[in-house]
């Protein structure tokens, strides 16, 4: 968020519109939290839609959940939680401005993020193979077929939107990583790492809600 216009007597990294570093950091943090609030409402629309249809069609949604791979979903959950840990470590290190350690933790976070996307790719392809993609390849013909299609529409919509946020996150991570490597961030100026961390944790938390709603609720009965 910060602007790098060089001004005399200005601390490194302080944008022209701010008076001092604390003001800039406060603005960046409030800005990111405000953005995350908009994201909560954005995903909120999806979650509300999902919950309403789940209450309309509980049996179809139980069946839908049973088609999902809990093992892969569970591994992905673990992957994301660990990536949040490494991200938190990167933010922690940024407070002392330790460039090497920040870079190591950022790389680890990036690798875990990519791992998540690769596993997601295998999950998606197995759904294509089994003909469980509404509007594209759809094989089920049972009693609940249309409602099952609704479940998978929501599954692809919600996890797809989440994956898109992961892709954006990895793009931002690359940018923060390059800036770190260039030595832009110091113990005084590290707000971009911190607010990127907020974004990363948010995307992680969305998955923490998606996983039980989509994968786990179906295992409790219904058949």
């Amino acid at each position: 968020m910060a602007d790098h216009a060089a001004h005399r007597d200005h601390p490194h990294g302080l944008a022209h519109q701010f008076e001092d570093m604390p003001q800039q950091k406060e603005s960046a943090v409030i800005g990111m939290w405000s953005f995350l609030i908009t994201e909560i409402l954005f995903f909120g629309g999806f979650f509300a839609t999902y919950l309403i249809y789940r209450s309309y069609y509980p049996y179809a949604f139980f069946e839908g959940s049973s088609h999902l791979d809990i093992l892969l979903g569970g591994i992905n959950t673990a992957v994301l939680i660990v990536s949040s840990l490494t991200m938190a470590m990167a933010v922690h290190e940024s407070h002392s401005g330790n460039k090497k350690r920040i870079m190591v933790y950022l790389i680890l976070t990036g690798i875990l993020g990519l791992t998540f996307l690769v596993i997601k790719y295998f999950e998606y392809s197995s759904k294509v193979e089994h003909g469980l993609v509404p509007g594209l390849v759809w094989h089920p013909h049972g009693e609940y077929s249309p409602q099952l299609a609704l479940f998978f529409s929501l599954y692809f919509g919600m996890t797809g939107m989440h994956a898109l946020h992961m892709v954006v996150g990895i793009g931002l991570l690359t940018w923060v990583f390059v800036k770190t490597a260039q030595g832009t961030y110091t113990a005084e100026y590290n707000a971009p790492i911190e607010i990127f961390g907020l974004y990363w944790h948010f995307v992680d938390i969305v998955w923490i809600f998606l996983f039980p709603l989509l994968y786990l609720l179906g295992t409790q009965g219904g058949h």
């Binding site: 968020m1 602007d3 944008a15 022209h16 519109q17 701010f18 008076e19 003001q23 406060e26 603005s27 409030i30 800005g31 405000s34 953005f35 609030i37 908009t38 994201e39 909560i40 409402l41 954005f42 995903f43 909120g44 629309g45 999806f46 509300a48 839609t49 309403i52 249809y53 309309y56 069609y57 179809a60 509404p134 509007g135 594209l136 249309p146 409602q147 299609a149 609704l150 529409s153 929501l154 692809f156 919509g157 939107m161």
Partner: protein, 543 residues
Amino acid sequence: MAIVERDIRTSEDAPRVNYLNNGYGLKSWLLTKDHKRIAVLYIISISIFFALGGLFASLVRFELMTPEGDLMSSDTYNKVFSMHGIIMVFFFLVPSIPATIGNFLVPIMVGAKDLAFPRVNLLSWYVYVVAGILGTIAVVGGGVDTGWTFYTPYSSTYSNSNVILTAMAAFLAGFSSILTGLNFVVTIHTMRAPGMTWFRLPLFVWSHYATSLIMLLGTPVIAITLVLLMLERGFGFGFFDPNLGGDPVLFQHLFWFYSHPAVYIMILPSMGVMSEMVACVARKRVFGYEFVAFSSVAIAILGFLVWGHHMFVSSQSTYAGMVFSVITFLVAVPSAIKTFNWTATLYKGSIVFDTPMFYVYGYLGLFLVGGLTGLFLSSMGLDIHLHDTYFVVAHFHYIMVGGQVMGYLGGMHFWWPKITGKMYPDIWGRVSALLVFLGFNLTFFPQFILGYMGMPRRYHVYPDEFQVLNVASSLGASILALGYLIPGAYLTWSIFKGPKAPDNPWGAKGLEWETTSPPPTFNFDETPLVTEEAYQYGPIEEH
């Protein structure tokens, strides 16, 4: 920067560096991070869309001159009113005051050099432009015929027009307004000058804070709704398709969860403009400052709890409808507080008869009618009769056009000397304000009667007995158009030929009047120190 400016001021014949003459190239505008230049870019772009939306409005009024559908086919008419609504709502009304006057004034009013995130501000303009281009392509490429509400299943399944492209355009326009709102919230929280406490903020800033909250909390929901709509139309996902188990009414819930609060995006900023202008034309502190400030926040909060009043005739349960109806009545309380407090401010004020005053009076009258007819529509029983009639059309035009557009024009006249550094001929300002007021009432008052008599909206063929009132409405629309064209002409003229504006032509209070006209790039030579309450006109009053 500040040092350079002081050097120039000492040499008397050199013009002072301000935000307008600080760089002339196209690049200095298109890559600017100055909130004032971005505001000017926005003024130009929304004016284009206002003209385009106005063109479609005039086509509607032309067609409705006669009871037969003789100018265009039903399909064409559907597209014309849809595009009027979509362009006016998403590309004019939502950004109208916040992105232009708000963008220009919020940082200056809080005493900051710029918004907290100047690049995000520029990004919001570019996102708006891309949205505008997509919208224009959709219009040129055959248009869209769903109405601005995009109701399913028509929009998702049956319509043969450019729904996806238009929805994408609306989605992006919404994203642009999220960025503006985010910038305002952060700026108001963290960038206030020393001494500028929350309760010394001008009410314009309070109303923009409330508007920004709605932008942050509401707009993402329309974004997701439009994403669901695009997925359904594009990939055959059945979110709202009853054949696939979906529920079309869910779309209405999601849509109005944003779009009702969005109605307050289209009125709150103009309330801020009015508070500033009322205090100035009456030369008094706004009566009950704290009440006016909190009523903005109250409107923003209550606005999120009333969306169901658009759905009294859908499958929504009667009990839900009753709750929505009661909460809708509650919105009248903060709105009335504002209106009463403005009137109380004028009482025993020392009123100045300049152009801004004409807009203040016009606004008070039109908003009163618009607000009171809102109470008719929030009564469930009456709404079933009035639903989807011209009564509704007249009601929301009184709020959106009588409110926001009057506020926008009034604000432009009030701050024009500050924005451009030039004065316009005041007599023309008064004439056009009067034309707008008369033309507006002649256009929309007959529509209340038409709606009450039962004329439905969105039809271009109607029974003969409705013709007189429709002709009156079309006649009023031409006067209204004239009232909009004249300011366009003399304001443009003033940029080139108008006399130079003094720093404070109205003798108004507020930080924006303490800097030069036009302001320097960083707004103030030195960060201002605020030592008094807002609106300290004349001797300090007891309150």
